[in-house]
Amino acid sequence: MSEYVLELKGITKRFPGVTALNNVHFKLKKGEIHALMGENGAGKSTFIKVITGVHSPNEGEIFLDGKPVTFTNPIEAQDVGIAAIYQHVTNYPDLSVTENIFIGHEKVHPKTKRLLWREMYQEAKSILAQLGSSIDPKREMGTLSVAQQQIIEIAKAISTNARIIIMDEPTAALTARESEELYRIAEGLRDQGTSIIFISHRFEDMYRLASQVTVFRDANYIGSWGVNEITNDQLIVAMVGREITQVFPHKKHPIGEEVLRVERLGKTGYFADISFSLRRGEILGLTGLVGAGRTEMCETLFGITNYDTGSVYLKEEKLQIRHPKDAMKKGIGYLSEDRQKQGLILQWGIGRNITLPALERFSKRGWLNERNEGQLAKQLAEKVHVKAKSVFDLASSLSGGNQQKVAVAKLLTADLDVIILDEPTKGVDIGAKSAIYEIIQDLAAQGYGIIMVSSEMPEVIGMSDRIAVMKEGRITKMLERDEFSQEAILAAAMSETPDKTKAG
């Protein structure tokens, strides 16, 4: 019996025009949590698809318990105990937890083929109990939080008797506490002998959980280390291929006069009594737990939905915003959290995406001028360093970081005073992250007032001039730069009231 439950040797996968994986190796022990890291586009996703049988490699061998195997489809991989949990939870919100867990491998009566609901329900309950969760298996999936749904996905993997579970950025949408819950579950599985491949952009995930880390870069295998053998800096070098000396480029830029003032803003059921002011050149960090009402508040400033009470002044003018179009005309821009669904039209080229908010700028009385459009798009795409060949490259072909840059470029088409960025680096790899930070600092230096919503503590502290902390729809604390600390923010975000949202 081999020391490794899963071993991949010299895997190469080519697609027309690109080599997605070039001679990569991977070794997974029984009962090990193994972190797989790399920038977006490093080949991690393709690698997972090779392991789960979605893609067959052009070269290389896969060994399971020391024996060579080939998977021609995902079902074969599932049959030998390999399961994957994806970043974007894919489930059936209208079906029950039990149905979601057993979908695709339902228990049926051997003769009559009747579905054995009672047995499935019992087993769901026991798997969830094993995970330390008290979610009722009869609940509708759609009523659960993202963190709870993540747990159901894990339960689903266990129900297929998975020995190897791949988790693709499971913590991306979770708060710190929910992540802690997930860590506990992962550790529990590990102790029972399940092997886990854990993919994440968060260093804290890796340090907290993994014992081994493997790094890919640009489709190549860079190396594999014990987590204790490698420093943070060395790991960054391995991932990025160069040293990023300073992740947060906090630049001194002059802070000017007040540009936006919000007074006692409220929307029933979402947030109340929000007051703050924003000055030119200032970056106001807006943080708090997921569900604290940050996004909802920002969306009303941009006119996606409307606030019930309070008032908003832009350059001393009281605003009546009913629609994003009004907001942009007045000078407020918004970069939404979900760039795939709300930010970009993925089927379109980069250029068309960039110019969509500002078609008037190069059109005369409604008539498009495609030459001007192409030039404007080119200019703005270059300004934010979009990595592509042409403005006609499809948005869907870009990596997360580059898509985000395109989304930022869209904001630059309008004549704005205030830019609201909602989780601007969510799901973006570290290299692109620092590029986006540069862009944000640059915008501030140009005199935009910037509101940056973020759940990532280091990011908020590193980037902001002031930090507003929200909790349950209210701003509980406004921190000045000399008061910044993780402890102060956490204290304000969680303060006195006991936690009601604990997962499971």
């Binding site: 990025v240 160069r242 990023i244 000396t245 300073q246 480029p249 941009f302 996606i304 629609h323 994003p324 179009k325 907001a327 942009m328 918004y334 939404s336 669904k341 709300q342 930010g343 970009l344 039209i345 993925l346 089927q347 379109w348 980069i350 250029g351 068309r352 969509l356 908010p357 078609l359 008037e360 059109s363 409604g366 008539w367 498009l368 192409g374 030039q375 798009a377 080119k378 795409a381 270059e382 300004k383 934010v384 360093h385 979009v386 990595k387 592509a388 060949k389 042409s390 403005v391 006609f392 869209k410 309008a414 290299g431 692109a432 620092s434 590029a435 540069e438 862009i439 640059d442």
Partner: protein
């Protein structure tokens, strides 16, 4: 944003020139449609000696172009991933109102035509307003309801009778010529051209495509999604009324049951023309060719006395072909 040494990527320049690929140029749906159109004309010619004659090709358009006016706004609606199945009923209601205003209320025929256009536009406006107001309901259900409603109102106004006796000049719409070219053909070319410009050369058209691909992202980008939708549905109502005028003129009278199933013909022509119901795709030139294909097919089969039921089979098969073929192509090129 000056060059900084920690900038992770090199400063890049992007090309702003549209890439041109010969293969893409020739693998366009419209070429296939054009080939089918030529095929239809050739087939008809071999079957009937009367067919291939520039006069007959020209005059045939008078018979089938009336519903073509609705195809263009329907294409817009389908690009926005919506549908409007009430257009046939709108044709009936607006033409019935026109006949009633003229015959029972004693208004002038000019006045009656204006009323007809107005009624059509209002029908479309109502559809549009309902659709943007009740976003959780699909356009199929809303326009199914108004389809029944509009037809029902037409029956109440005229009961099951015909109404005609239009003044002689009114026949010009259906049967008139200008410099030897049928008036309807001239108007069709103008309308097709205007709708084509609107869709492909204006910000409004760009917004239509944007909404079809991703209406949420469009809203976040400052596109007034609701306004665009209401305008397009109103246009569909208005063009249905235009169809009503030509239809009533050609037939000399109207009744509440005219233009039944027009919505299906119209949607079929748009789909055959390459307008995808998945939204965001298709060009207007395709629908123009599709209109001519279906029209000439109908006309040609009529000339050799093939019953109109056979036409249903042919159009149905053609439509199936139209929606299946692009899928086949796609999967072949992926490998």
């Amino acid at each position: 944003m000056a060059q900084k040494n920690i900038q992770p990527y090199m400063q890049r320049t992007l090309s702003a020139d549209r890439p041109f690929s010969t293969r893409q140029f020739f693998f366009q749906w419209e070429w296939l449609l054009a080939a089918i159109l030529i095929g239809v004309i050739a087939l008809n010619t071999s079957l009937s000696p009367y067919f291939l004659n520039i006069n007959s090709l020209r005059d045939a358009t008078m018979v089938f172009l009336d519903k073509a006016f609705i195809v263009f706004p329907m294409a817009f609606i389908m690009i926005m991933r919506d549908i409007d199945i009430s257009v046939g009923s709108t044709v009936a209601l607006s033409s019935v109102v026109m006949a009633t205003v003229y015959n029972s209320l004693g208004a002038s025929m000019e006045m009656a035509v204006v009323t007809c256009l107005l009624v059509g536009a209002i029908c479309g406006l109502v559809n549009g307003l309902l659709i943007v107001k009740f976003k959780e309901l699909s356009a199929v259900i809303i326009t199914l309801a108004t389809m029944i409603l509009y037809r029902g109102i037409a029956y109440i106004i005229l009961e099951d009778q015909a109404s005609g006796n239009f003044p002689e000049w009114f026949g010009f719409f259906g049967w008139g010529y200008i410099y030897g070219i049928p008036f309807i053909l001239i108007l069709f070319v103008i309308v097709a051209f205007l709708f084509g410009l609107l869709l492909h050369k204006t910000t409004f058209g760009r917004h239509i495509y944007a909404i079809g691909h991703n209406d949420v992202a469009s809203k976040f980008s400052g596109v007034n999604v609701d306004r665009v939708k209401v305008i397009v549905f109103t246009l569909a109502g208005l063009m249905s009324a235009v169809t009503a005028v030509f239809l009533a003129s050609r037939m000399g009278s109207t009744r509440p049951n005219i233009a039944s199933m027009y919505e299906l013909d119209v949607i079929a022509m748009a789909a055959l023309g390459g307008i995808s119901t998945a939204g965001g795709k298709g060009r207007l030139i395709g629908t123009v060719i599709a209109i001519l294909i279906v029209g000439y097919l109908q006309y040609g089969l009529g000339l050799i006395n093939i019953p109109s039921q056979t036409l249903l089979i042919v159009v149905g098969a053609l439509l199936l072909f139209a929606v299946i073929v692009p899928k086949l192509n796609l999967s072949r090129f992926k490998k």
